[in-house]
């Protein structure tokens, strides 16, 4: 095995560029998945099954099919329908959509975990629906929702390399480009592998602290 530190040094500027794109995709993807997931979760609480049923089927479908193929679908089919976005935008949307089907379960579980007595008390005090949600239910649900949402952010981080398949130059894209130009595969791929372990480990430590705070 040969390890060439000079290749690592040469790769580092590209690495930081890639990291920036990865983080961009991660933050935007998280925001989309958090908000879209909330929409799905609220739609699943509507009284008519004509809303619940289609939403359930669509989200189940999205959750059980590969993100990679969904990404291809959005990247190649949307332009045919006259909607053209940049590769990064398409990728961010695909990740956000895919993970929204997971976050909706988190929201649902969080809302269901609020004891029924809280709802009854809000009714007994004849609080309006708005106050019931914002002052009673959501503050209690958030505590239960944040840790699993954080886990999905870490999962999303590890799914961002998929964007390489639609030409986005995030960390893996930069590593691949560099290795093809310099014929050095070991160093860049190992560097980003280590970077992923370090970032996700730090993120999970951060999350554990946050969780401890919220539970208190």
């Amino acid at each position: 095995m040969t390890w060439d530190w000079s290749a690592v040094r040469e790769f580092m500027p590209h690495f930081w560029d890639g990291l920036l794109v990865t983080l961009q995709a991660l933050v935007l993807g998280s925001l989309i998945s958090f908000s879209l997931g909330l929409v799905w979760a609220l739609l699943m609480r509507t009284p008519t099954r004509w809303v619940r049923w289609p939403v359930g089927v669509v989200t189940e479908f999205v959750r059980n099919t590969p993100l990679l193929v969904q990404l291809f679908f959005l990247f190649y089919v949307l332009p045919e329908w006259g909607l053209t976005f940049s590769a990064l935008t398409t990728g961010v949307f695909a990740i956000g959509l895919h993970y929204s089907t997971y976050t909706m379960q988190v929201y649902r579980a969080g809302i269901e975990a609020v004891p029924a007595g809280q709802w009854e008390a809000a009714t007994a005090l004849s609080l309006p629906a708005r106050r019931t949600w914002f002052a009673v239910i959501l503050p209690q649900a958030v505590r239960r929702v944040v840790p699993p949402l954080g886990n999905y952010v870490i999962s999303m981080l590890k799914d961002t390399p998929i964007l390489v398949s639609i030409t986005v130059l995030e960390m893996l894209g930069q590593a691949r480009l560099f290795s093809q130009q310099h014929f050095q595969f070991t160093e860049p791929l190992t560097v980003i592998g280590v970077a992923f372990v370090v970032i996700s480990y730090l993120a999970s430590l951060l999350l554990r602290t946050l969780e401890r705070r919220l539970v208190r």
Binding site: F61, P66, Y102, P147
Partner: protein, 238 residues
């Protein structure tokens, strides 16, 4: 579609199924070994197993695939057949997730069962094989089923390295026919059907295993959704 394209697609389905089965076997083996090692009495064994889990859960599956496909041949001179390279990368990565499921289920068995085994003079291996695992395995199935579906979705990643699986052949067909919307919709449907079959099989298996230890099969759907977080929620908290 021409017969040649059909052959391509069927070959892709076959490759995906093969890859799924092989990497599921490796994943299960890794999960059991590492999961049990995390409950070992020697701290060094627990530490190494924990390290394995952190490292392989920490890297992205796709980065691992690239590493096995491109770094192993150059750095160590091991050029693996694509099928084995894919199996290795997926099995090791998803096995790390699986080890958390195994650990959780082993921890959930009533401690009195373990103590009973000690009192009756069972060896550690007998306790594991005859007391802990028969009770822990049915607990694992719902999470394991979710993990299998994640693994199925993961198999699509190997197509990025040019391996001819379902996603790859789907792309070739798209290039040939220029009908992206149709082709990708069918592709997603095929994956969904495979996932559906996995879910059904696992549900049957769980019912049988639970009946074997005299427990109520219960509402599996509720159990599955409750446990979904454990399998797919990655990172520190399980």
């Amino acid at each position: 579609m021409t017969p040649g394209l059909w052959d391509l697609v069927l070959g892709g389905v076959w490759t995906t199924v093969q890859l799924l089965v092989l990497s599921a076997l490796l994943m299960t083996a890794v999960a059991l070994v590492v999961g049990v090692a995390r409950t070992h009495r020697l701290w060094i064994v627990r530490f190494l197993a924990g390290l394995y889990t952190e490292v392989f859960r920490g890297t992205s599956a796709l980065v691992m695939i690239f590493w096995v496909f491109f770094v192993l041949p150059v750095a160590f001179g091991w050029l693996l057949v694509p099928m084995w390279a894919g199996t290795l990368a997926l099995g090791l990565t998803y096995g790390a997730y699986g080890s958390e499921i195994v650990r959780g289920a082993l921890g959930a068995v009533d401690p009195a069962q373990q103590e009973g085994g000690i009192a009756l003079g069972f060896t550690p291996w007998q306790r594991l094989r005859l007391i802990l695992l028969p009770q822990a395995v049915p607990e694992m199935i719902p999470s394991y089923c979710n993990l299998l579906v994640e693994l199925l979705k993961g198999t699509a990643l190997v197509s990025v390295t040019g391996m001819g699986d379902l996603a790859f052949s789907g792309n070739l067909v798209r290039l040939a026919l220029q009908e992206s919307a149709h082709i990708y919709t069918y592709l997603l449907l095929v994956y969904f059907v495979i996932a559906f079959v996995i879910t059904r099989l696992m549900r049957g298996l769980e019912k049988r295993l639970r009946a074997g230890i005299g427990k109520d099969p219960g509402d599996e759907h509720a159990a599955r959704t409750r446990k979904r977080r454990e399998t797919t929620g990655v990172g520190g908290v399980a």
